[in-house]
Amino acid sequence: MRVIRVLGTALLTLGLAAAPAAADSSPSPSASEEDGAPTRAGTSFRTATEVEQGQTATARASTGDYLYWSFPADAGQRPTVRATVRLPESHAAETWQIDVYDGLRRRQACQYGAQTRTAGADTASVELECVLRTVRAWSEPWADDPLPGTYYVRLTALRVATADLGQPVGAELRVDSRDMGGAAAVDGALAQPLVPGIATPVGTDLAEDDDSPTAVLAGLEPEDGWASGWWSDRWLWTAAGGALAALAGVAGYRLTRGSGRPPGVPPHA
């Protein structure tokens, strides 16, 4: 099944290579005019604001709010989430934290980075960072490895004095990822990425008046669409290995076989 799908995808890729990328990155309604980066954050998983990787999302919020963003991450990427919170002029010590959840709303561990940080009284800002594990194309259902799909980021103040609740803060979020290449290419693939609501049928009769954007739980895709999962640099390594082995084989053959006939055998024999 997989092989056929892979072949199919390869054909598709060839056929559609010339066509412009069909990735539907419809900007979320809260996008600003200039660069499309969102200027608002959601307040729950359901209302999370969608952010592309590489965009800097900003939001004005209040201390104590739970701010939610979501971004797509594909197999082979190792996303890094960075958030900066600008705090009001006077405040008591506050602890801020970012949590990252996958498309199944499972909390994802951070490999490194200061996920939680306490800002001392009257500090101007606090910076948080979370480096996720590498996203794999497949994992067993019992594991909680990061899989391709939507990821949620929640930013909130963990410990805050009641007097500071509701004070205006500014938040900034940016997600970048490093391509981990073939080292992370695993076998197997999900039929569909872990995008919440992906199995929900699209409204059919709503298509007539198209002005109102349809609400989806998550709609963003990586820039070039979801990877089909068949390409990795393992093909190159393996092919190169095969070629070198062939060369080495010829060399070994020539070493023992000699350059022609065995010594002592007359040419006319």
Binding site: M1, I4, L7, G8, A22, D24, P29, T43, S44, F45, R46, T47, G64, L104, R105, R106, R107, W138, T156, L158, L165, G166, Q167, P168, G182, A185, V186, D187, A191, Q192, V195, P196, G197, I198, A199, V202, L206, P213, T214, A215, L217, G219, E221, G229, W230, S232, D233, R234, W237, T238, G241, L244, A245, A248, G249, G252, R254, L255, G258, R261
Partner: protein
């Protein structure tokens, strides 16, 4: 049998993929119709006597609120149905009982006539008590009907003066009744007690609390909240889980809400065909004061009671929700793919339990809000090797291949030399 069917299925899948790939832009497949009704917003404004205080940029709180309302009314998106309700606007006397009933609909929730709404706001004079609880109840009533998103924006400058009716309890009950009603609160020049109360109201419904000390903050925030109401949001479907699998409701792919009390079990059933994968995620919201250690457990159980996979989450400290999820691929059954018979769907039971707890005195009903997403998709392709297609990578691989090739070449060369020698001697 299976082997023979596979290429056919593969070709079908390929064709389907081709048509789908050509017909729709990628990503259009994820979606769900929203509530097509217009979003409704009810602005609830405190017009109590304390609004006379002149401490917002040197002007009275009332004047600031009026200016903010004027600007918000100008900027309200066309599709939003906006209403305005006041509290403490009419009764100036000392009778607490009377004062606590003092809430009125200043402008009904409906299509917005900006001039009319502005005129109504202009007439307001700071007068009476601060009956937040009753005003919230009435405001929720104003928003009744329709399945669009609903939002109450409460602007107040003092804590509720109408105990024992705790506005926080009221907010929780409202949230338990209506689906998707959010209360956002704004406190004008708040003190600590008021901050606590208003943020409690907001957290009970998944809203936000903002403290306001300047005119522009007020305008910006209210504008933003009204805009947010206009954003399309997937509306969940209310369901009610049962206490055992055989009585549980059957769920399709979609987004659901329910309520779950402390220590309660909620069961749901999902039908999954062989070869499909069930994805479920659940969030349980802490909408009241809970003890600082808590957990959520989601299990997929067969009808015979065997657990196949579970998702668990535990947490500690301040939180809005705790969530977890699971994937349950239903294996393809071998040898049953005979002649056009649709294979029978397997029933998977989902059980949600939580280990939230609260101090005595905290109400346990209605239960904590629970949100469940269910997606049934095509199953994953299994992995037969750790590496992609079993391919290799790295210098060790190259070294091993070169060495093997070289050795093979040596042996081959030696063999052929030996063969020639044998042929020569004969």
């Amino acid at each position: 049998m299976i082997r023979r069917k596979r290429p056919v299925a593969g070709v079908c899948a390929l064709l389907a993929a081709l048509t789908a790939g050509l017909a729709f832009p990628a990503g259009a497949a994820a979606g769900e119709p929203t509530g097509q009704d217009a979003p409704k917003v009810n602005l609830v404004l405190d017009v109590s006597g304390s609004m006379r205080a002149r401490d917002i940029d040197g002007r009275s709180r009332m004047a600031a609120a009026k200016q903010a309302f004027n600007e918000v009314l100008d900027a309200t998106p066309e599709e939003v149905r906006l209403g305005i309700r006041t509290l403490g606007a009419d009764y100036a006397g000392d009778d607490r009982k009377e004062g606590c009933k003092d809430t009125a609909q200043l402008y009904p929730v409906g299509p917005l006539d900006r001039t009319e709404a502005k005129t109504a706001v202009a007439t307001l004079v700071p007068t009476g008590w601060t009956p937040i609880g009753p005003a919230l109840l009435k405001a929720a009533g104003d928003l009744d009907g329709g399945d669009g998103s609903k939002r109450i924006v409460l602007i107040s400058d003092g804590e509720d003066t109408c105990a024992p009716l705790d506005p926080c309890e009221v907010a929780r009950e409202i949230a338990a009744k209506g689906i998707g009603l959010t209360i956002d609160t704004l406190g004008l020049v708040p003190n600590v007690k008021m901050s606590r109360q208003l943020s409690c109201i907001a957290e009970a419904t998944g809203g936000t609390y903002t403290s306001v000390e300047h005119q522009d903050e007020l305008t910006d925030r209210v504008n933003e909240l009204v805009d947010r109401a206009a954003e399309p949001v997937v509306t969940p479907v209310a369901t009610e889980g049962a206490d055992s699998c055989d009585r549980a409701p059957v769920l399709q792919s979609g987004l659901y809400t329910d309520r779950e009390e402390f220590g309660q079990q909620r069961w749901y059933r999902v039908e999954v065909l062989p070869g499909q994968e069930l994805r479920a995620s659940v969030s349980v919201a802490a909408d009241r004061a809970v003890r600082p250690d808590y957990g959520v457990l989601l299990r997929a159980v067969t009808v015979h009671g065997r657990e196949t996979v579970r998702g668990e989450a535990t947490g500690n400290g301040r939180t809005d929700v705790l969530s977890t999820g699971l994937r349950h691929p239903e294996p393809e059954r071998e040898g049953e793919d005979g002649d056009g018979d649709k294979p029978a769907a397997e029933v998977v039971c989902l059980v949600v339990t939580n280990s939230f707890s609260a101090d005595s005195g905290v109400k346990t009903t209605p239960g904590l809000p629970l949100e469940l997403t269910v997606d049934v998709v095509e199953g994953p392709d299994g992995s037969s090797d750790v590496a992609s297609f079993g391919l290799g990578r790295g210098w060790w691989l190259l070294g091993a291949l070169i060495l093997t090739g070289f050795l093979a070449g040596l042996v081959w060369g030696w063999l052929s030399r030996w063969r020639v020698a044998v042929w020569r001697t004969n």
